[in-house]
Point group: C2
């Protein structure tokens, strides 16, 4: 059995906040728990916030923005390694981390204030690893940490949460070579368990009610890994 528990009572997160201490004070962590924390909370604690009034949009940003604020599009382009699709003002971009998502992860909702945009963490795996160490230091518990965000998908409606950063767990469950009950080698070779865990956590995280973290208990995925393993290598990608 798995349990998914919301981490309730966290305050609004700001730059420099000790997210680990806030979480350790709000929930009783145990060994092998997986803590899932929303990217937005991590980014705000890390000061990854841009004020629109400080942004000068380029011609390219103005072109892609359509009727939207071109300063916002400028920030998106700065966070992008390449634009994958665009239909003004919508931009689907690949981030420097290799994630393909709307607006390169740049978002105004749940920003500290109006006129501000929150960016993805510079290195979400490093963010997860720092949080894991801090939680170990404060609680003694050996937990896995996932930094999650809501991504849209081609061909399917609605977002699901996925893992942008991970530490203290193996994000891919590798079934290659294993056989089913009649001896046939399994076709699905790798399961993106970290993404499924992020999605499970989202089910108890209420964006509008300010619950930016959840604990998933009862898994046994302890090990070392990073969310970069979830990024499809270009040579295997039929959609690049």
């Amino acid at each position: 059995m798995i349990e998914v528990l919301p981490v309730e009572g966290l305050p609004e997160i700001g730059p420099g906040d000790d997210l680990g201490a806030l979480i350790a004070g709000a929930v009783d962590l145990r060994d092998r728990d997986v803590l899932v924390v929303a990217q937005k909370a991590v980014s705000k604690a890390e000061g990854r916030v841009v004020r629109l009034e400080e942004v000068e949009p380029s011609a390219h940003a103005r072109e892609l923005a359509g009727d939207d604020d071109p300063r916002r599009t400028e920030v998106i382009l700065r966070e992008s390694a390449r634009v994958v699709r665009s239909r003004p003002p919508l931009v689907i971009a690949e981030t420097r981390h290799g994630f393909v998502c709307a607006s390169a992860g740049v978002d105004a909702s749940n920003a500290p204030g109006p006129g501000e945009l929150v960016l993805l963490p510079v290195d979400p795996d490093a963010s997860a690893e720092r949080l894991r160490r801090r939680l170990r230091e404060l609680t003694g518990a050996e937990v896995g940490v996932i930094v999650s965000d809501s991504f849209g998908r081609p061909w399917r409606q609605g977002t699901t949460d996925v893992a942008l950063g991970a530490a203290g767990l193996r994000p891919l469950l590798d079934l290659r070579g294993r056989r089913d009950r009649v001896g046939y080698e399994l076709h699905t070779t790798q399961i993106a368990v970290a993404d499924e865990i992020a999605g499970a956590a989202q089910l108890v995280m209420r964006k509008t009610a300010g619950i930016p973290a959840a604990v998933v208990r009862g898994l046994d995925l302890a090990g070392e890994g990073s969310a970069q393993e979830l990024v499809m290598p270009a040579e295997r990608d039929l959609f690049r």
Copy 2:
């Protein structure tokens, strides 16, 4: 809090099996539970199995099959509304239901026997609805039902389980118009909760150990809806 419980002790499923009775006998269902059942089990109960020896491959199937069995590719093409991408022997297809996935959902793993392929249910929403009614009849519990399968994703490694069929729940959580704590209207407008539930269930379903169902308890998504709501309409799809 949400709990995810594996449904253990189910036998190997065959054509004509009363899946509802088998599940009702294996787990204690409560109102508002969501039962997630693997597509493979549903398809086998519904007799959606093809024997390779009865298949004559077309020229197109031979071309796409590469070094693989062209009869398998022929079955994939028969299940496809269109081929989205191919790199022999890999075929990504859109099924008649509108799902885009590897091999149009055709799979040999966990098939009843060697030389057999399992197809997706003809109408997974109807399968979910039948199972919901049968479970209500047998247990009195008002449950939601999801028929799940493991899909790959562009740009990301590994599969996650998604909902192919749904009954007795709303598969999309609509946040349009809701505001965050500082009053900004949320950008992520719809959350594909049925896909996240399918993924959560996968975490306790062991493909190799023959656990084809799980119960997700503690959600409150009761309502009417179908997994067809999760299929992106062509006019909104930037990846068509």
